[in-house]
Symmetry: C2
Subunit: 743 residues, 2 copies
């Protein structure tokens, strides 16, 4: 086996040499994502070639043509010989629907259970020819099946005896791009927006098509194009024209467009006196606006709404409920088949209630009051996309409402562009969480797929990590979160490890010597970031605004519930937010067995400080004091990153130079910043615990003053933001920001 | 000859096919600039191969290694076979300096006149081997010579009997990047900044090296990294550390780094009470700051300063002259060999003097008062980078001062990203302009190269058009301005047509059927934009702020000298700014023969309305009325763009699909916008002239109200800018901005 790989490597080197001579080889930079289609090992080629000789498509449509193009391009690349469109013959790949292909129709395949998007791949025989069919009820299923077929080869599965059926578990699998019209991206760490609105519709960047291919390859079937903190200009006719042009590009790939809207649009855009959802003029305005959109975009997806949240306008400005707000928009969309995603992310600086409780308090009483084309789009946790949160108590608590799960792919709180943190582990932790709402087995997965309460629609939403960086997502490994989000939303039963392995094979190499090291490294990476940032249930102790680096000491923000000290509540006695019945009683928002667990002594360590205020010398399950356990977790996180760097160093023979070097540099930044997090947090909490460092664990090299003085004027990812005036920090250049601070 | 090309094309098609099989071919997207090194025609390969068999370099240095790498990469690519580093043999390319290469030293070449940067390329014989030597006094000359040698092959010159010497006419050939730390670019139309300050110094994007190669390939030897409207943070220690890391990347390519500084830095950064240049504390602070920079960057280039201009602080805040301001910084730089570029772009909203006169009035009296390491950096014209301006009257008027010419590569006023306008035509018009300062032949070229007044230093500065767009400059053809700026600054005698032809050959194809059509099209493109925007000496009638599209009617800006109506002065009698002695007398700032010409009846049409207010029925040299002539020029501009589109359509066989399509789309935008300019300006000026359209020329399709209502909320290229609130334009979607307005 190893010999085969060595021979294959030699073949590759030779092929690379030939390329170098024909045209200067362009470095791999991540642009091709997991759709690279580079030639596979010669032995594998030999096995696959007879089974993929040509692509047979008997009809033409934009989506069928996209499938055909993808297959011919992918098979030609992977098998290193031309595979074109052709006629029926041995080894043909026959694609289509019964309606578009007499050959497929003649097979009378069991397609009914596959719905509108599912596909069937089967090795069979037509007119005496051994063929593979990729069949579906609709063209989009054929495209999904084509990507699945290519994935089989990319991951070196057998394709001689196929009988695969697959249909998505969730109906709507969406990304929300938080992109502003001016090209900035709220919480974007991958450059600027890929949407060049200024040049649309006259120039449509080829990247839009590549993005659509990537979305389709993992089953993402809709994207909201603009920031949830929305600019009302987005609904102006000149922009709707541009959106329509973009929708035309995405449509063949089954990707529908959605827009984030500003609830006050009837006033700002429509010049009405009010945006009160109970006002018939307002309802009429929304209807007229929506009708105009559908005239240009007949398959427009719908709206995303952030209302009465962080300064955005909403129905409460008119003393109407969130449901009344959602319904006025939903009624306008309903005749066209459009959907409203109404975000549950609300909290108020005027409400002294524990911020973690506010969304539940506001939305739960509205259960049953939302139209059936409304989703209440709920973040995975009740605070805000932390490295680890207990699941949002709304899941399982609104049985009569369509709930959509919102997760964040862009790593606002998890290391941003550079930290290698594989998020599907987090997503899966959320999906597997048992809400106990209807007894054991009431997982979040079953809440959002509708099966728990018998809903007929379902959705999962990821906040996009896509920008105009050449590698799309800011780093090579952030691509895995885009990939993994789509794969999971299609099939909630996939494990993060399966997804990591297939992503690694497609993105880098199928060599087990690589994958067997890298998959475990990816799997462990999420716990590492929890350890070096927010172990044991700590949360939201990041620096202000940009959330880059530690800021547990911050206590001077005007909104109290945005201050880190609000969340960790460290004092001389201990640390943690008492959310038990003796405290804010947030635990009571969960089903009774969970509420009891979180309020009691058996609470898992990982949620301890989220729900309980605990003494510094509290004896943990390990027998150690809380303080010692905290330090150990921080050091464990730093050690895990060091281990990741070692692993990656050993992967150099398997990865092209440019992607290897970029990743190595980013892991270096991650290591430096993990240490910064560890040192700063320990230096801070030590001022309360006054306890010695556990044996063998070094004290932070600087005192707290040092860490508090670090100021990063231009950390990325904030929009509409200006750096503070220059602060005269000490003359030591080490004191001017972490970037030059930690060697 | 045509048969050869056809065969070559077939060979290319075959080669492309092979590539497709080896790895999915990546589309050409412009990233490789003019350094593509694709295989040339087989016949040409056969001629060149024996003359470039290996590269012989007898020493190692970062710059020599860069030369060796470029040659081996370039020759291997162009000649389609491996050309590596090797030993002396027939056909070897021997590179080096006498100090680094005994082989070169033994040849006793006449290198002395070449200075520090020049090179010599000679076909000769060493030890009986026919070789080509690329020799220079310093390593950087070897690198420049290596690029020149590759260019010979790229443009299919003979290389068998070479004896070429070349040295730059100007000592400092610089780009100013107007990039902000937050990634935005002032007047940038090619995406955002390529400088990822946040990740520096830990991650150095490979693009920095590609940019340095491109700069070096055309002889650019310095870049200022940040916006002239500077952020004081740029001088903070954490950023100087990052700048030092970038300098390390650029250094092997002979590109020195400069920084734009804020004159108030001693107050903001140094916490002094004043930035008064006469205060010894201020001088000491600058010295300390500069010393600290040179400790990290020993070859730091110096500072660019925009002082007392458009809101920037400066010496006049303390009643000191521009010279006193420049000198305090120059004195700090002097011991290290650093230079100050002190910009002459000043005008005041409080000074009622003709804005065109103010810089001259302020700077001319200071002639002789600037230190010898100061350049007064003067824009090519006295207003602001218009499609056409008469040359700035300061050229020739400050004989005792180092004057640097500043031109703008980023097309703030000439169509921004999408209009195809070849700027070297404009640059050359400026360089060839005879100031008559010391009689006939006192060209701008001779002013800035120092020869007119015997200066020992010299400089030309281009405002960069580089961003993080994949094609670097926003469009494929904007690359020609980067290329042409460098080539011209190296050799002021080159013609724009020569430069266009060599750029086309390297960037697209050497096929004469392509170049013979495209070079004339590029040459005509600058006159086209003058015609459809600002014919006959009109200027600065662009829309407010972003300068995108026409705005001749704008009269409500708080600073009067920024209003278009200030510049064109249209009224019932006529149009144009009377700058003759009967008006602002700006003509008197020129040498007498020129002053007389511009104030009199023989003034060339192209400067007419710049200097004279002329009646609508004024009889032009053509015999037509001014009004008719104006309309004819606008229509001529529109027709020229239509012709460009036709030409480009016919070029499809010669250009790869992606670059062809992008350029075709951009030409479509240019055509639409040329029409918009023409219609809007005619509709506006007609309200004064009240004259009928000349026969055969159509009236604008809409009335003036329509054009005035066009509002583009997010035109690119402005920093620190927020769109106006939504304006309720008429319900007709056509009324909401040009992007959807003109079909």
């Amino acid at each position: 086996m190893r010999g085969d790989w060595a021979r294959a490597a030699l073949v590759h080197l030779f092929a690379a040499g030939v390329l170098l001579l024909s045209a200067p080889a362009r470095a791999e930079d991540g642009y091709d994502l997991w759709l690279r289609y580079r030639p596979i090992e010669a032995t594998a080629q030999a096995q696959y070639r007879p089974l993929a000789t040509a692509v047979v498509s008997q009809a033409t449509s934009p989506t069928l043509d996209a499938a055909k193009t993808e297959l011919t391009k992918g098979l030609s690349g992977l098998l290193d010989r031309p595979v074109g469109a052709g006629a029926l013959a041995d080894g043909a790949v026959v694609i289509g629907t019964p309606a578009s292909s007499p050959l497929i129709a003649g097979l009378k395949l069991p397609l009914a259970p596959l719905g509108n998007e599912g596909y069937l791949i089967r090795s069979t025989s037509i007119d005496g020819h051994a063929v593979t069919v990729i069949a579906a009820n609709r063209d989009i299923g054929v495209l999904y099946g084509s990507f699945a077929f290519l994935r089989l080869i990319q991951t070196r599965q057998q394709i001689a005896r196929l009988d695969i059926s697959s249909a998505p578990r969730l109906k709507l699998r969406l990304l929300n791009h938080w992109d502003n019209i001016d090209g900035t991206i709220e919480r974007g760490y991958a450059g600027h927006s890929i949407f060049d609105w200024h040049k649309m519709p006259d120039y449509m960047d080829p990247r839009y098509t590549v993005m659509a291919r990537a979305d389709a390859s993992v089953g993402i079937n809709g994207i909201a194009l603009n920031n949830v903190s929305s600019d009302v200009w987005m609904l102006a006719p000149m922009y709707i024209g541009k959106v329509a042009a973009l929708a035309d590009v995405l449509r063949p790939y089954g990707v529908r467009v959605y827009l984030s809207i500003k609830f006050s649009a009837p006033v700002e855009l429509g010049k009405l006196k009010t945006a009160d959802p109970a006002d018939p003029m307002v309802a009429a305005w929304w209807k007229q606006e929506v009708d105009a959109i559908y005239r240009q975009i007949p398959d427009f997806g719908g709206f995303v709404v952030k209302a009465n949240s962080e300064g955005q306008p909403g129905p409460r400005d008119y003393n109407r409920s969130q449901a009344e707000g959602a319904n006025v928009v939903a009624d306008a969309l309903k005749p066209h088949g459009g959907t409203v995603f109404w975000r549950a992310f609300v909290y108020s600086e005027k409400d002294p209630t524990d911020r973690a409780k506010q969304a539940y308090n506001e939305f739960k009483p509205l259960d049953g009051k939302f139209r059936d084309n409304v989703f209440v789009q709920t973040k995975n946790g009740a605070i805000d996309f932390q490295p680890r949160e207990p699941v949002h108590p709304l899941f399982g608590a609104m049985p009569k409402t369509n709930l959509a799960l919102e997760v964040q792919l862009t790593k606002e709180y998890l290391g941003q562009a550079t930290h290698l943190v594989y998020l599907p582990v987090l997503f899966k932790e959320v999906l597997d969480w048992d809400t106990m709402a209807k007894g054991k087995g009431s997982t979040v997965a079953r809440v959002i797929d509708g099966s728990l309460e018998g809903h007929t629609t379902s959705a999962m939403v990821g906040v996009s990590n896509i920008g105009d960086d050449r590698n799309w997502t800011g780093s090579q490994f952030n691509q895995a979160d885009w990939y993994g989000f789509g794969r999971l939303a299609w099939d909630l039963n996939l494990t993060p490890e399966q997804i990591a392995r297939e992503w690694l094979a497609q993105t880098f190499t199928n060599d087990p010597a690589f994958i067997d090291k890298m998959a475990p490294m990816m799997m462990a990476s999420r716990e590492a970031v929890v350890n070096y940032m927010t172990p044991l249930g700590l949360h939201h102790i990041m620096a202000t605004g940009h959330h880059y680096g530690p800021g547990p000491w911050v206590d001077d923000l005007p909104r109290p519930e945005q201050n880190p000290v609000y969340f960790h509540r460290a004092d001389a006695k201990g640390v943690g937010f008492d959310r038990t019945p003796s405290g804010s009683d947030a635990t009571s928002q969960y089903a009774p067995p969970i509420a009891k667990l979180f309020a009691g002594p058996d609470i898992p360590d990982r949620y301890l400080l989220w729900f309980q205020h605990v003494g510094w010398d509290h004896k943990m399950k390990s027998g150690r004091s809380l303080w010692d356990e905290l330090v150990l977790h921080y050091d464990e996180g730093v050690a895990q990153v060091a281990q990741m760097r070692q692993t990656w160093d050993a992967m150099k023979p398997y990865v092209d130079a440019e992607r290897w070097s970029q990743t190595a540099a980013f892991l270096g930044i991650q290591a430096k910043e993990a240490q910064w997090w560890r040192d700063a947090c320990i230096a801070y909490f030590e001022t309360f615990s006054h306890m010695p460092m556990p044996a063998g664990h070094a004290a932070p090299p600087h005192d707290l003053t040092y860490y508090k003085a670090v100021y990063i004027p231009y950390a990325p990812g904030r929009t509409g933001y200006t750096a503070a005036p220059f602060k005269n920090t000490p003359k030591d250049p080490d004191q001017n920001g972490i970037a030059t601070q930690i060697p």
